[in-house]
């Protein structure tokens, strides 16, 4: 893990592959969180509190 890493170069953007993976992973995680179904609890409460 202590060897030099590769870089993604596009125009003026120069980003390390580990950093790119982190950012891409975050975008994927956000998208998944948006669409994944959320476990529903029992609906047993009245309206209001």
């Amino acid at each position: 893990m202590d060897a030099t890493t590769s870089y993604f170069h596009w125009g003026f953007i120069l980003i390390s592959v580990p950093n790119l993976l982190v950012i891409a992973g975050m975008i994927v995680l956000f998208a998944v969180a948006l669409v994944a179904p959320f476990p529903r609890g029992r609906e047993d409460e009245d309206a209001g509190s």
Binding site: V22, G25, M26, L29, F30, V32, A33, L34, A36, F38, R40, E43, E45, S49
Partner: protein, 214 residues
Amino acid sequence: MQAAKPVSVKDKPDSWTLRVRQAIDRQLPMDHLLPHRQPYYVGSWVYVFGVVTIAALVWVVVSGVVLAFMGPQWWHDSGVGRFFNSLHFWSVQLFFIFMVLHLWGQYFMAGWRHGRAATWAIGVVIFGVSILTAFTGYLSQQNFDSQFIAVNAKDAMNAAGVGAFFNVLNFGQMYGLHIMLLPIGVTILVVWHIVVVRARGVVKPIDPEGAAPR
């Protein structure tokens, strides 16, 4: 013996203690601090990023406490020390990952509405102070990375006029800030952030123009 004065909301009681307690009861009663129900629309995984950020922060602090106890040299010379440094390093990565996801979520939910602008602002301050805390952490590593970060970052600090007061080349200063003063600051801010979230409750969905509120 005098009869006890009846206490009502209209009379300001003499006792400061009572006044503080009543203010807390009004602002953050226990069933708002620890509610066991939420509005039905709190049903998306996006809501989870906040608590996961807190969880990551707990692991940052726990691993940091171990590193602080054993001293700044330990993790360079010991396998166990290196493991705790790794735990600290990756917890910090997770902390920033989840904090930014939480920021994205709150942005697209416009979480500042209905009187919650302060909650949002405190969140941004937490982001800034966390970056500063991480920065002092990177400077405290006592390896090549901290050498170069120090030599490079000093130019920005000096240009801004703060370099003499916040000397990134001064390990002692950076270390003290990192293990004590800044974590205290982050913790106070996070507690404040959670308190105002619980005091106000979760914000309602964004309503389309003209729709009747549900």
